[in-house]
């Protein structure tokens, strides 16, 4: 294994090993740069993953405390659990669904497209579709997105059969089993999906793209990646001119280390990334790094979401096969006559029994509730994901509660915007009609679950007074710190964010390497 010295000033330090951090690490090491990657969680190989909800959750999920406030129902339902994310090498992609729709042209210009929306802080991105369009196909090829660039579509599983029938019956014309970052046939040295139904729990079969099966081993093979699992970054050090000089981190025994750095990339997810910037206050950054204009942690978005779960008289067996291999794009448009701006997707969803019992009606119990769960094999599911309105007060800040290292945990405040509520109400109605058209006996609409899509907390803007990073992801006013995760998204758009994040980081890497 490659090891660089703690005082090696020539290494780039990347904090976080999810889609953003790993993509950047691969691009840089491929180009001959030395990289130290700090990952808070352990390195777990695919063959160690468990086909068991309890074991997988214990092995993979982010288990450290957080606090919450705001009007969102999630704060009532799951008060210490604002987000669903992974703490292990590969990041939250280890439990992601794999859907890879692209963002849309009008979504990069949210303020222009939607006009002023009361109470929201939506803005245009400083980049447009044209800036990312060269990178989208590369990202799709990296991920092996199905029925993109000549790849085969995934077959229809049982949940999709219900979904597609209902979609057609209510007049939808844009639905498919993907694009989905899991192999329909062997691709990139990895096998086709065996439809084992466990892609929310780590994929043992290697069919699903994650950095763990792609970017990480490739970056390691260059000999230029020093991967340090169980290494939690706690502070970025700057010199008197504001230049980053090192990252301080704790190892698994709690010992503090200092890794010198020529440059630092923060890719810790939109909750931990602003937390690290805020923890890194100093004489040159008295309110935290990049926080001169007070935007670090603000404009937090998590998508307008919800589940719609239906019971049928006949069996569906939605637990068999790819968990979310179904998407409807008809509502992913801006058409304000629906009563809201922006759009949403409907996506197939299958939940294993523990998750279904926790989420079907958060805190539900009793005989009637158990009857709904008895119908497990007769259940079909839809997940709603739509653009939520950026709001300045929706914010990740430092809590008064301390973690076991004595550092303030992240506090997540989120108020629903009326536009979010109107969009979700519309989506629930459409999903209910879809299931009814397919003959459902009973439909349950559920409130949002802990967020898998976390964005916006180091907003990208050309104007240092309006955001934290520039159009390449460089922190304004700091020459050598970039943000390489969904924190940079100026607004949330409607689509699952991983593909767009990878495209953004590929472009960022070209900038760092002086290619653009």
């Amino acid at each position: 294994m490659t090891e660089f010295a703690h005082d090696d000033h020539d290494v780039m330090v990347i904090v976080g090993s999810g889609v953003g951090g790993s993509t950047l690490a691969f691009e840089l090491t491929k180009a001959g740069r030395k990289v130290v990657m700090l990952e808070a969680g352990p390195l777990i190989r695919n063959d160690e993953f468990a086909n068991d909800e309890r074991q997988a959750n214990a092995m993979l999920l982010w288990d450290e405390p957080r606090t919450t406030s705001g009007t969102w129902q999630l704060g009532q339902d799951f008060p210490g659990l604002p987000a669903h994310m992974v703490k292990a090498v590969g990041g939250t992609t280890l439990v992601w669904s794999g859907l890879t729709p692209r963002f849309k042209q009008h979504e990069f210009k949210a303020r222009t497209s939607y006009g002023a929306v009361d109470g929201s802080s939506i803005a245009d991105w400083p980049i447009s579709m044209g800036d990312l369009s060269p990178y989208y196909p590369i990202a799709e090829d990296r991920m092996g997105s199905t029925h993109r660039n000549g790849r085969k579509a995934l077959p229809a599983n049982n949940n999709y059969k219900v979904f597609a029938f209902g979609a057609k019956a209510i007049g939808y014309v844009e639905y498919a089993t993907g694009p989905y970052a899991t192999n329909a046939e062997p691709y990139d040295g990895r096998p086709a999906s065996i439809q084992d139904g466990f892609n929310f729990h780590g994929d043992k079969n290697l069919s699903k793209w994650t950095p763990l099966v792609s970017e990480i081993p490739r970056a390691l093979a260059t000999g230029l990646l020093d991967l340090r699992p169980q290494s939690r970054a706690v502070r970025i050090e700057q010199d008197s001119l504001g230049r980053a000089t090192a990252v301080h981190y704790l190892d698994s025994r709690g010992a503090l280390h200092r890794q010198a750095a020529s440059m630092v990339a923060v890719a810790g997810n939109a909750i931990e990334t602003p937390r690290l910037l805020l923890l890194s206050d100093s004489r040159v950054a008295s309110h935290g790094i990049g926080n001169e204009s007070g935007h670090v942690g603000r404009h937090y978005t998590r998508h307008a979401t919800g589940n719609v779960i239906a019971r049928f008289s006949r069996e569906v067996n939605f637990h068999r096969g790819e968990t979310m291999a179904g998407i409807i794009a008809d509502e992913s448009i801006h058409r304000p006559d629906r009563g809201f701006v922006g759009g949403y997707y409907l996506q197939t969803l299958a939940l294993a029994p523990i998750a279904l019992a926790q989420l079907l009606q958060p805190h539900g119990w009793g005989a009637a509730y158990a009857r709904k769960l008895d119908a497990y094999a007769h259940t079909a599911g839809i997940w709603i994901t739509g653009e939520d309105m950026s709001q300045s007060q929706n914010r990740v800040s430092l809590s008064s509660r301390l973690d076991k290292c004595g550092l303030p945990v992240a506090h997540v405040h989120y108020d629903d915007h009326p536009n979010d509520l109107a969009m979700v109400a519309h989506a629930r109605k459409q999903a209910t009609s879809l299931f009814n058209a397919a003959g459902s006996e009973d439909v349950t609409v559920t409130p949002p679950s802990p967020s898998g899509h976390n964005m916006g907390t180091t907003r990208m803007s050309d104007d240092p007074d309006e955001g934290v990073v520039d159009r390449w992801g460089y922190v304004h006013g700091v020459p050598n710190i970039v943000i390489s995760d969904g924190s940079v998204f100026t607004t949330s758009a409607a689509a699952n964010p991983s593909l767009t994040l990878m495209a953004f980081v590929l472009r960022q890497a070209d900038r760092i390497l002086g290619r653009v």
Partner: protein
């Protein structure tokens, strides 16, 4: 299992009460062992977290101090306590054990681990026949999914 201290219910009584609460909260046609096991796990977790343990015990104090004993009366008590923090927390502790239990899986029709069996590729991931075969991709609108 539980250290008996004055003012606390006897450990066997507490275990019995938590088993009964588990069975009333998530009643499925399964053996009593499922609920007894859920109580074991929940009480183990609670004992390692004294404030949480104290919250549940104090939530149950009215039940233990009353003269009601049968399951109907326990259900009525739980309905009154439905949104109380101690009962919400206890249910969250109970859920993973009950719905992670293969006996419950069989009952509700979940098939559990599948990787070692080759997944569902040849075991029914697409065996639904009561609806017509759908198109893998339909695209007549903007063409996003073409």
């Amino acid at each position: 299992m539980i250290v008996e201290t004055s003012g606390l219910p006897r450990s066997t009584d507490l275990h019995q009460a938590v088993s009964s609460i588990a069975a009333l909260s998530f009643p499925h046609n399964v053996s009593q062992q499922v609920y007894s096991h859920a109580a074991d796990v929940a009480l183990d977790v609670l004992q390692s977290d004294p404030p949480r343990f104290a919250m549940v015990v104090s939530g149950l104090a009215d039940w233990f101090n009353g003269s009601d004993t049968n399951s109907e009366m326990l259900l009525a008590f739980l309905e009154r306590e439905s949104d109380a923090a101690w009962f919400r927390d206890l249910r969250q502790l109970i859920i993973p054990t009950i719905y992670g239990d293969p006996e419950v899986w069989t009952r509700i029709g979940y098939e559990g681990p599948s990787f070692e069996l080759g997944g569902y590729k040849d075991r029914g991931f697409d065996d639904l026949t009561w609806l017509p075969e759908p198109e893998l991709y339909a695209s007549a609108g903007e063409g996003e999914l073409k």
